[in-house]
Structures are given as structure tokens and as C-alpha cells.
């Protein structure tokens, strides 16, 4: 017993010193002028190396809090003016829109905004897209020829696709696509499409990556995913038997969603924040997105991966991306159509 | 602390005055008062639920009275605006289930209350000797028999030499033979230690045989405090009479120091005269049976206890009475006898529902 007590006490002492040092390091960090605090809803595995490069080049001490985009957005809203964050780097435009709507995003200077096409940034200049990802249809090249594929994603309700479709209805990008479908085609058309696909007995996967794997191993012939997952697979295995098909025709199937950044109105380091945003839109960073995350570069004239159709050729639906926020309606629709329980 | 009766103050070990304890709307103690002198051995006797254990807990400080006061060794420990916590009362308690600390050795248990006393080890050794457990100090409680555990509990309470020792049904967990042996031993140990003791019991034999004085409780009050002899011979109420030993009740008519009933004219004690319709209480040994072929009473049955016997007889008037016999008397069921009263009876006002003798 005595030995355990000694152990406990030494652990408690260790903890208290830990607590203390954590407090002090926090304070010094705040006072150092060369810092930047980023709340990143984008994954560390994707953007971590890029942020390190920025740190090395600028000398700014960047501290990143990674988390879920929606949760970080809610946290910033709760923190209010006391938020330690200078920049919010979000996975999708909806979260940026919420921040802008709450008046917590600062206007970005024109020279930053002008780097990006208007369809990929806030109309009010409160956030800007950094990289894009397209909704695509992945198909197994051994089982499907490109001619068989319908012109629009709406065509997959045809009974000839029964049992051949894979999807991940819990995935956020998929739900954003359904929201776009509702906005562009109307509620009834969206419902009809969901019910049509459902009637084709699609195979349900937990996420995009497993959909892709399902397409590759022949469990299904086609799958609805984001475009970049394939390139990661191709990097591992050049003979990966899957190709991408970009539905055409300006309907919701051609949705390109963006990851983007906003500068917080409460930022104590506005200059560093802008420097960071400029870096993300620089040729170096945009090239990184093309080569490492296989996303669409949105600025600096960096062209997309040559295996992808150029961004300019994709007729994206005419909507403000941060308007894709009625996820609740989408979820209700998914439930009513029997897609979600 | 200025009070009447200062003269007796100095040798009063415990003084409870008008203690009241309620739980929600249940009154558990109602104006309980008791005084115990230094070195005295007092029993609290009553059926379970009468408030005996609550009283002990109030004295020990595990509970607070709603009103009334408690003084221990002349010090106010509970009363309006005063509450001394148990650890500062110098009261030792022996619990019904002993409550030995299972993770400590016998010596650890016995020495627990001594803390950093300089002569701790010696005291522990002495106390264990006193209770007859010398040499068992390193045992764990679960390695001991019930009787030994009881002694550890006693040693633990005695070791800090408290002003007062409280025992809560201390012998109820032991088998009959052990109980009788142990209680005389415990009595002797406590006497040797010079401790003032209150012990709680529902066993009248235990109370009568051990205590200097017995306080009988009922419904949260003390209804009689007396020496065992007085309690037995002059119970204050018929309930006490029934509770403390066997009792015969015979309807009769009292007139001062005498009462007439089915057994004839019976003397009443001078200190307890009575008038009007009464039940006359006679202990079985206050009656003597004499063989008489023409006797009015018939023997029904005989219970043989070895040291004495108890015989049931039915009188001509249809009363069933108990008579104590010596070990050698021999009566057979059906035999006719005469009953003679050998001792003054105690008379209680007649109960309205009519007096059927109860045994």
C-alpha cells in the first residue's frame, strides 16, 4: 500500500508540473508576435506538410488545432470574440458561410479574392476557396465501358443499373451533393432520384474510400465518390482497375465543392493570417494540392492533374456553395426515401 | 452548567436530559432522560425499535438530538448550540456486529484508538491481556472465532481508556453457552477497567444478571429505572412485569395494602398501595403449591429446567397460573393442589378489556 501511495503522489506531482508548464507555454505563445493560430477542419494528414512549409518559409510559428469542420465552427461561434484562432480552414463552404453569417469572418482584401474565380469564393468577400473536389462516378474499367454510362447522374435510376451501384449515404460530400440536387432540380426531383436509386438496390458502404474499393474488387460496377480518392489508389497501384466519369450538363452531378479559409474578425495576427491565406493560394501550395491531395487547384493558374478534365470544362451548378447548408432537409429526405434509418 | 444538584455532578458519568429524536415524522426518542454514575453498569432494556440503539448513537455522537442535552463526565457534548463530534467525546463503543477493521491485525484494531500514544505498544499488550487475547496480536480478524472477535472489539474500545463504554447488543451474535460465559467475563473486565458502561439488550436475563441498574425503554422513553431486584419485584407497569420474567395476573379488588382475589387476601407492598379493581401480579416463585387431595387447583403440566421447575395449574375459578417449584418437587398432571402466596404481590389498575391471565 505504501509503495502505491508513493507512486500516486509522484504521479500527482508530475501532473501538476505538467499543468503548470502547459499554462505558462500557452501564455508565452500568445505574446510572441510571430505566431498564427489555425483551426483546421482539414485533415492533418492532408495539409500538415503544407503548413510546415509555410512555417519554414515565413518564420511564423503556426499552431494548428485539427478537428472536425462542423465542431470547430461551432467552437469558434462559442468562443466569440475571445477565440484564440486567427484563421479557420474548413473542409467545406457551409461552415465558412456559418462563420461569415455570424459576423465572425473579416473581409479579405481584394488582391486575395481576385486570385479565385467568383464561383469558388464568398460573394461578400468573407472567405475564399483554396482547393476543389468534384463529385464523380467511379467505374470498374473491366466491367463497364464508358459508353454505357448515362450522360447525367440522374440516369442511374434506370433499372439496368440494378445491383451495380455503390454509395455512402452517410458521407458529408454525398449529402452536400443531394442538397445541391434539391436546390438545382427541386425537392420532388431529388426525392424521385433517391427513390429511383434505392429501387436499384444499391450497395451501402461506410465511406468514399470503401465505395472505391468496392468498385475495384467488382462488388459493384459504379460508385458515387469524390474524385481524389482514386488518385491515392493509383499512386499505390498503377493498374488499379477504376476510372472516373464526370457527369456533364450543369446539373447537381457536376458539383465541385471547395475547402476554403476565412480570417477571423477577432484575429490578433491579421497580417500573418493574410500571409497564410496568400500562401495557400500561391503556386507552390496549389501545386501541392494537385500533386499530393489530387484536388483541383483554384488559383495561381495551376492546372489540374492532366488525368482530370480541366476545371473550366466542368459546368458546375449555379449555386452559392455556402448555401448548401440545409443539410437537415436533406437528411429528412434521405430518411423518407429509406436511404437512412 | 449551573444546575441544581451540583453535589451529584462530579460523580455523574453520563447525563441525558429530555432527549428528543425524530426522523421525519417518526418520534424515536421522546423526552429521554437518564443519569449514570461513574463506574456504574447500566442496561438499556427494551424490545427492538424502542429507541435503545438510537440512544447509544446519540451518546456516542453518531447522531444529533433534535432537542435535549447530553453531558459526559460533566462536559456538555450535545445540546442547543453544542455538538461535540464522536472523536472528541472519549466514548468507546462495541457494536453489535463488532465492526472490526478487516484490513488490520488484532493489535492494529486494538491500538487504533491510541494513535501516537508513546506507550501504545504496551497499552495494546495490556489490553489484549485483559481481554484474554495475549499472543494473538498478529492475527487477522477473520482468523478468529466469534467470541475472540467480541473480545477484540472490547479491547479496541477499552484501549484508549474512555470515560464511557457503550455496548450495543454485544452478545446477541454468540451461541448460548458462549454468551453466558462471555458476559460474566466482560462484566469482570469492565469492572476491572473501572469503566462506566451502558449496554443495550433486549434480553431481560442479561440485563438483570449484569447490570447495576436497568433502564426499561418503551416507545422512545424510559419507563422505569431501577436495580434488577426492584425491577423484578416492583415493576412499574404490567408490561414491564411481563417483560421482566414470568408473571401471573389475577383480577381482584385492592384496598390500600391488601388485595382480595381468587387466591384470597394478599398483602401489597407498603410502598405501592392500590385501591379499587386491580390485576394482582404474582411471580411464579411467589406462589407455593402444596399437595392437597381436596385442593381447588389442578396441575396441568410441568416444565423441568434442572435448577428449578415451572408448573401450570388451573384454579377453581378457571385461572391458569404458573408456579415455580424447587428441583426436587414432584407433581403429576391431574394432581390436586392448594396454592399459598408467600410474597407481597404488586397490583395494577384493571385493564378495561378484562383480565385474562397471560403467560
Amino acid at each position: 500500500m505504501r509503495k502505491q501511495i508513493v507512486l500516486l503522489i509522484s504521479f500527482a506531482a508530475l501532473v501538476s508540473t505538467g499543468l503548470f508548464s502547459a499554462c505558462t507555454s500557452q501564455e508565452t505563445a500568445v505574446e510572441d508576435p510571430g505566431t498564427l493560430v489555425v483551426y483546421s477542419g482539414r485533415n492533418e494528414n492532408l495539409v500538415g506538410p503544407l503548413i510546415e512549409r509555410f512555417e519554414a518559409q515565413s518564420g511564423i510559428d503556426v499552431r494548428v488545432r485539427y478537428g472536425d469542420t462542423a465542431e470547430l465552427a461551432a467552437a469558434i461561434l462559442e468562443e466569440g470574440a475571445n477565440s484564440p484562432a486567427d484563421v479557420f480552414y474548413a473542409q467545406d463552404a457551409g461552415a465558412l458561410g456559418a462563420l461569415a453569417q455570424a459576423g465572425m469572418a473579416a473581409s479579405l482584401p481584394e488582391d486575395i479574392l481576385s486570385l479565385v474565380e467568383p464561383r469558388f469564393r464568398s460573394p461578400e468577400g468573407l472567405w475564399v476557396g483554396v482547393s476543389g473536389r468534384a463529385r464523380v462516378v467511379a467505374y470498374n474499367v473491366e466491367r463497364v465501358s464508358p459508353e454505357e454510362l448515362p450522360a447525367s447522374i440522374l440516369g442511374f435510376t434506370d433499372p439496368e443499373w440494378a445491383g451495380r451501384i455503390g454509395w455512402a449515404p452517410t458521407n458529408g460530400s454525398f449529402q452536400a451533393f443531394v442538397t445541391a440536387l434539391r436546390v438545382v432540380e427541386g425537392e420532388d426531383a431529388a426525392r424521385a432520384w433517391l427513390e429511383g436509386i434505392q429501387a436499384n438496390d444499391p450497395v451501402v458502404f461506410p465511406n468514399n474510400l470503401t465505395v472505391l474499393e468496392g468498385v475495384a474488387d467488382g462488388t459493384v460496377d459504379v460508385g458515387f465518390i469524390n474524385h481524389y480518392y482514386l488518385f491515392r489508389k493509383l499512386a499505390e497501384d498503377e493498374a488499379y482497375p477504376v476510372a472516373l466519369y464526370f457527369p456533364t450538363g450543369g446539373d447537381a452531378g457536376a458539383l465541385v465543392n471547395v475547402a476554403g479559409v476565412a480570417k477571423l474578425a477577432s484575429s490578433t495576427q491579421p497580417d500573418n493570417a493574410e500571409a497564410f491565406i496568400r500562401f495557400l493560394l500561391s503556386e507552390e501550395a496549389q501545386t501541392y494540392f494537385r500533386d499530393q491531395t489530387f484536388e483541383y487547384p483554384l488559383a495561381a493558374g495551376v492546372e489540374a492533374d492532366p488525368r482530370l478534365p480541366p476545371l473550366s470544362s466542368i459546368e458546375t451548378p449555379d449555386i452559392d456553395l455556402s448555401d448548401l447548408e440545409d443539410l437537415e432537409g436533406t437528411l429528412r429526405l434521405l430518411q423518407e426515401a429509406g436511404v437512412l434509418e | 452548567m449551573i444546575d441544581r444538584g451540583q453535589k451529584g455532578m462530579s460523580d455523574l458519568a453520563i447525563r441525558c436530559r429530555d432527549l428528543v429524536r425524530r426522523y421525519d415524522n417518526l418520534i424515536v426518542l421522546e423526552n429521554f432522560s437518564l443519569e449514570v454514575r461513574k463506574g456504574e453498569f447500566v442496561a438499556l432494556l427494551g424490545a427492538s425499535g424502542c429507541g435503545k440503539t438510537t440512544t447509544l448513537r446519540l451518546i456516542a455522537g453518531f447522531d444529533r438530538p433534535d432537542s435535549g442535552s447530553i453531558d459526559i463526565a460533566g462536559r456538555r457534548v450535545a445540546g442547543p448550540g453544542t455538538f461535540v463530534p464522536p472523536e472528541r467525546r472519549r466514548v468507546g463503543m462495541v457494536f453489535q456486529e463488532y465492526a472490526l477493521f478487516p484490513h488490520l491485525t488484532v493489535a492494529g484494531n486494538a491500538g487504533y484508538g491510541l494513535r501516537r500514544a508513546p506507550d501504545r505498544e504496551r497499552r495494546v499488550r495490556e489490553t489484549l491481556e485483559l481481554v484474554g487475547l495475549d499472543g494473538l496480536g498478529e492475527r487477522m480478524p477473520h482468523e478468529l472465532s466469534g467470541g475472540q472477535q467480541q473480545r477484540v472489539a472490547l479491547a479496541r474500545a477499552l484501549a484508549p481508556q474512555p470515560d464511557v463504554i457503550l455496548l450495543d447488543e454485544p452478545f446477541s451474535n454468540l451461541d448460548a453457552a458462549l454468551r453466558v460465559r462471555l458476559r460474566t467475563e466482560v462484566r469482570a473486565i469492565l469492572q476491572q477497567a473501572g469503566a462506566t458502561t451502558i449496554f443495550v439488550t433486549h434480553d431481560q436475563a442479561e440485563a438483570l444478571s449484569l447490570a447495576d441498574r436497568v433502564a426499561v425503554m418503551e416507545g422512545g422513553r424510559v419507563i422505569q429505572v431501577a436495580s434488577p431486584e426492584v425491577l423484578y419485584r416492583l415493576p412499574a407497569t404490567r408490561e414491564i412485569a411481563e417483560f421482566v420474567g414470568e408473571a401471573n395476573f389475577i383480577p381482584g379488588e385492592a384496598g390500600g395494602d391488601r388485595a382480595s382475589c381468587a387466591l384470597g387476601e394478599i398483602p401489597l407492598p407498603l410502598c405501592r398501595p392500590a385501591h379499587g379493581p386491580v390485576d394482582v401480579m404474582l411471580r411464579p416463585e411467589w406462589l407455593e403449591a402444596r399437595p392437597a387431595p381436596e385442593g381447588k387447583a389442578v396441575v396441568i403440566r410441568r416444565l423441568y429446567f434442572g435448577h428449578d421447575q415451572l408448573m401450570e395449574v388451573r384454579t377453581g375459578g378457571g385461572l391458569t397460573l404458573q408456579v415455580r417449584l424447587g428441583p426436587h418437587d414432584a407433581f403429576e398432571p391431574g394432581e390436586r393442589v392448594d396454592l399459598v402466596v408467600t410474597h407481597p404481590a404488586v397490583a395494577y389498575p384493571r385493564e378495561s378489556k378484562g383480565a385474562t391471565p397471560r403467560t
Partner: protein, 541 residues
């Protein structure tokens, strides 16, 4: 022959249930900050709910909400019952029998606690789902055959049961070890078979522990997000989360959370009813040495049972992680160093366990020794926050921390505090169940011998609570190890733990990078729990 004094019948119960005096200040004082801590999330919810627009209230009254409530309750009910049924034999086998390798099993069967439910759910889908590894294996060897679909209710039920039953095991095992074996012997001597004795005596004695463990399971299920979202089963938590993601509407989320609090209170009432009939406080008879039950031939089915449960609950996630690891080593992408995350995880969770025990002790003491006082209230209040989804508790602390305690905000102290608010009931519940088995007469005896309340707690109560303390500490430790929402939002910046590493890798599909931290998470937990349980339960083995 002996007559007895007539007594009022209504007084009978008092002799057994002695109600003690007012709780001492030395217990009330440390309990107060706990009361404050556990009410913070509720205060936050009320603030948010009061700012809700009228339309928000309308959201609550939609028929879907009723459906969500029904789904949540069905899941809670079935998982709780199944977890108890699974846990009882496991606890008994590992605590009281001569099961071969008992010490090892006793660690293994509680380890599933450390597996984050989203990882567990993913592993199940990946391994046993209709297109999982097993299916492919089957297809390769037998041609075809279809495994049932794991999504929806069956999957959520299976996964949550397998990852929550250890709550009951830990509680019940502590109770089994502290129980007086004389009770079972008595039942045997009265003609019961061992099984009957278990059912009649042991089981009723274990009810406080079962209730405490079952409550943790029920409330965990109510608060779980990972498994239900992965397996597509919409419960309250998912509905609340959707509010954040969907419209960033914190008021509707708060209103939904308040409904969840009400559901929790209802569950607490049910549990209190179960508990009321069993405020059994065991008699302070010195415990005798426990003799393990000899299993004989039965040890084979017993072993098979333990192995099956461990294989499913621990083996599946580990096998899947191992598979990831192999793949990632092949590809050469195993992620960065894990030294800091290991240290961070252990430091934060260890502190949380220690602090939780420290604060839970006065609360549990008040709740058991002075059941009519405020202690019971504080204990209950801590449970009301326990069923809230982690993100709600985390956001409430973000709100209070950033605006009212900026110096503490996003420090380790804050993180530990968040774990405390989230997981305190795991400690209070376990300690309470343990305390119910320790007679208050022992503490009174000690006080009567001149020791103050703090001294009595140190010298008598704590040593006797040993198994309970270690079990409660282990619970808080394991759950903190996998905690995500509060860790992500409230830890010092760039304070990554094993759990955040696993999360970060799995959300973007870098399973190879998840394997290392996932395996380490289990290994570090196994080591710590092995140490804790070894010490807590070593004693008389």
C-alpha cells in the same frame, strides 16, 4: 415464554436503517466544486435554449423526434440488457473461479472499453460486413454465401454491446471481490446448488453493482455518436450532431440536448427505483479468504466463451488494425512518431483518473453515508451530464472557458477538467457501489476511537475500498484515453493524443497511419489497466 413489550409497528424499520447526523463540513467542502462542475453543461444548454428562436421549438415537436426518441430508447434498453448478460458470467469467471489464465482474462475482458466506438464500428464493417474481410475469405474458399448486413439496428446493437459490457464487468467484479462469501455458503447449506446460490444470494447482492454498471452502459449508449453514425442508426446524439453540421444551429442542438437530459433523468429514476430496494449495507463481518470455485470440465466451455467475447470485441479491431499495419508497412507510409501522443494520452487520462477519484470520493461518501443530503443530488446531477454527447459537453466548456476563464482555456488543466465533467459518474458510481458494501459501523467505530472524519477515510474507508478505487480509476482512464470531442477542442493546441491520431488518420482513409496509434492505444491501456487491476485485485489471489 418470554413476553415482549408492545411497540409501535411503524418503528420497526429504524433498527436496521440508522440514519446518521448531518454530513460533516470536511465532506461537503470538496463536493461543492463537483456540483459546480457537473452543472456547467446544463447551465450552458439553458443559456442556449433561452436564446432559441420560436421555430427552433417547433423542430422539437415534429413526429421524427418521437421516432428518434423511440430508437434511442430501444437501443439503450437492448444494449444494456445484453451487456449485463454478457458481463455477469465474465465477471464471475474472472473473479471467482479457477479459470486457466484468469489474471490475463481479467485484463482482456475490460480492454474493449478503450476502443473508440467509431473504430470498433468501422472494424466490424471492414471485417464482418457484407463486403468485409471475412466475407471475401468465405467467398474465396466456398464460392459464395452472404453475411448479414451490419448496418442499422443490428450492427449498432452488436457493436455497442461488445464495447460497453466492460462497464458492468468492472463494477460487478469489484463487488464480487468485496462480497462476504459466507452469504453464498449459507445459501449452499440451505440446500441451494451453486447456480441457485448464485441466483438467489450473489445476484441480489450484486444488484447495486449491476445497476451502477448498467447505468453507465445505458448512458454511454445514449451519448454515443461514433457507432451509430458509422452504422446509420439515427439516435438523439446523431440528431444533435446534425444540427451542428447542418445549420450550425446551437439553439436547436441545445433544445435536443435538453430533451436528452430529460430522458436521462427518466433512466436515472428507473435506476433509483431499482436501487432503493437494495440499500443493503453489508454487515461488517471480517471477510474470509475467497476460495476460487473449481470449474472442472466446465472450464473448456468457459474458456471458449471468454475467448469468443474477447475475439469479437478486442480481436476484430486488433486484427483489422494489424492488417492496416501490414499494408502500411508495405507501402512505407506509417505516419510520424508516436512518442508524444503516448505521453499525452497517458498524462491526460491518468490525471483525469486521479482527479476523478479525488472528487468522486466525497460525493460517493455523501451519497451513501448521508443519503438524504445533498450528496445524492450531486451524484445524480453528474449522471445527467454523462449522457450528453461529448460535443455538447465540449462546447459548453468552450463557451465557459473562452469567455470566463481565458487563462485556463485550452490548457491541460482544462482538458482534465473536461474529462472530469464527462466521466465523473464512472468514478462516483463505482465508488458508491463499493461503499454500499462497507458498513458505516466501521467508520463510526473509528470515529468513536478518536479519529476525525478525514483520518477515518484515510485509515479505514480507503483501504477497504481498494478494488473499487482501482476499478473506478481504470474506468475513467480507459474512457478518457479514447475521448475525442473535448480532446480536439480543449486540449492545449497541438496536443495530439493516440485517439486524435487514430481519428485523424481514419477520417481521411489513411488506415495505415491509424494502425500504429490504434494498436498502441490498446497496448498502453492494457499495460496500465493490467497494472491497476493487478494491484487492486492482487491482494488475496
Amino acid at each position: 415464554m418470554r413476553a415482549s413489550l408492545p411497540r409501535p409497528a411503524h418503528l420497526n424499520w429504524l433498527s436496521d436503517r440508522l440514519i446518521p447526523a448531518r454530513p460533516p463540513f470536511s465532506l461537503l467542502l470538496p463536493a461543492m466544486p463537483v456540483a459546480l462542475a457537473v452543472t456547467l453543461p446544463h447551465a450552458y444548454l439553458l443559456i442556449r435554449a433561452f436564446r432559441a428562436r420560436p421555430e427552433a421549438w417547433a423542430q422539437l415537436l415534429r413526429p421524427q423526434m418521437l421516432e428518434v426518441a423511440a430508437r434511442s430508447l430501444i437501443l439503450v434498453g437492448t444494449v444494456t440488457v445484453a451487456a449485463v448478460l454478457l458481463a455477469l458470467p465474465l465477471a464471475w469467471l474472472t473473479a471467482r473461479t479457477d479459470l486457466p489464465g484468469r489474471r490475463l482474462w481479467s485484463v482482456l475482458v475490460v480492454l474493449p472499453l478503450v476502443i473508440p466506438s467509431y473504430v470498433g464500428a468501422y472494424a466490424f464493417v471492414a471485417a464482418l460486413g457484407p463486403r468485409g474481410m471475412l466475407q471475401r475469405l468465405l467467398a474465396a474458399s466456398f464460392g459464395s454465401g452472404h453475411l448479414p448486413d451490419l448496418s442499422g439496428f443490428p450492427g449498432a446493437f452488436l457493436v455497442l454491446t461488445l464495447f460497453t459490457y466492460p462497464y458492468v464487468v468492472l463494477n460487478v467484479r469489484a463487488a464480487l471481490r468485496d462480497m462476504d462469501p459466507a452469504l453464498e455458503d449459507a445459501a449452499r447449506s440451505l440446500g441451494d446448488t451453486p447456480l441457485q446460490a448464485f441466483l438467489h444470494v450473489t445476484l441480489s447482492h450484486l444488484r447495486p453493482a449491476i445497476a451502477a454498471g448498467g447505468l453507465l452502459v445505458a448512458l454511454y449508449v445514449l451519448s454515443d455518436f461514433g457507432a451509430v453514425s458509422m452504422l446509420r442508426y439515427t439516435t438523439f446524439t446523431r440528431a444533435i450532431y446534425v444540427q451542428y453540421v447542418a445549420s450550425f444551429d446551437r439553439s436547436v442542438a441545445a433544445l435536443l440536448s435538453l430533451v436528452l437530459v430529460i430522458v436521462t433523468l427518466a433512466i436515472l429514476l428507473v435506476e433509483a427505483r431499482v436501487q432503493r430496494r437494495l440499500t443493503l449495507i453489508s454487515r461488517p463481518r471480517p471477510a474470509r479468504r475467497l476460495r476460487p470455485v473449481r470449474l472442472g470440465v466446465w472450464r473448456w466451455p468457459a474458456l471458449a466463451f471468454c475467448a469468443l467475447v474477447v475475439l469479437l470485441s478486442l480481436g476484430v479491431p486488433l486484427l483489422v488494425s494489424g492488417y492496416w499495419l501490414i499494408v502500411s508497412v508495405k507501402v512505407g507510409d506509417t505516419g510520424s512518431s508516436l512518442l508524444a501522443p503516448v505521453w499525452h494520452s497517458v498524462l491526460a487520462s491518468g490525471s483525469a483518473a486521479l482527479v476523478a477519484l479525488l472528487f468522486a470520493l466525497p460525493v460517493a461518501l455523501l451519497a451513501t453515508r448521508y443519503p438524504r443530503g445533498i450528496g445524492r443530488l450531486i451524484e445524480r446531477a453528474s449522471y445527467a451530464g454523462y449522457a450528453l454527447p461529448g460535443i455538447v459537453v465540449a462546447l459548453s466548456l468552450v463557451f465557459f472557458g473562452a469567455n470566463f476563464a481565458p487563462l485556463l482555456y485550452q490548457t491541460l488543466a482544462m482538458l482534465v477538467f473536461a474529462y472530469l465533467v464527462r466521466f465523473l459518474p464512472q468514478a462516483t458510481g463505482t465508488l458508491r457501489a463499493t461503499l454500499l458494501q462497507i458498513s458505516p459501523r466501521l467508520e463510526e467505530a473509528a470515529r468513536g476511537l478518536g479519529r476525525s472524519t478525514p483520518e477515518v477515510i484515510l485509515t479505514i474507508t480507503l483501504p477497504l475500498m481498494r478494488s473499487g478505487l482501482f476499478a473506478g480509476g481504470a474506468l475513467v482512464f480507459l474512457t478518457s484515453m479514447k475521448e475525442l470531442p473535448a480532446t480536439l477542442l480543449l486540449a492545449p493546441i497541438e496536443y495530439d493524443t493516440l485517439a486524435t491520431r487514430v481519428w485523424s488518420a481514419t477520417t481521411e482513409g489513411f488506415y495505415g497511419r491509424a494502425a500504429g496509434p490504434a494498436l498502441l492505444l490498446v497496448a498502453v491501456s492494457a499495460l496500465s489497466v493490467g497494472l491497476m487491476l493487478g494491484k487492486g485485485w492482487g491482494g488475496d489471489d
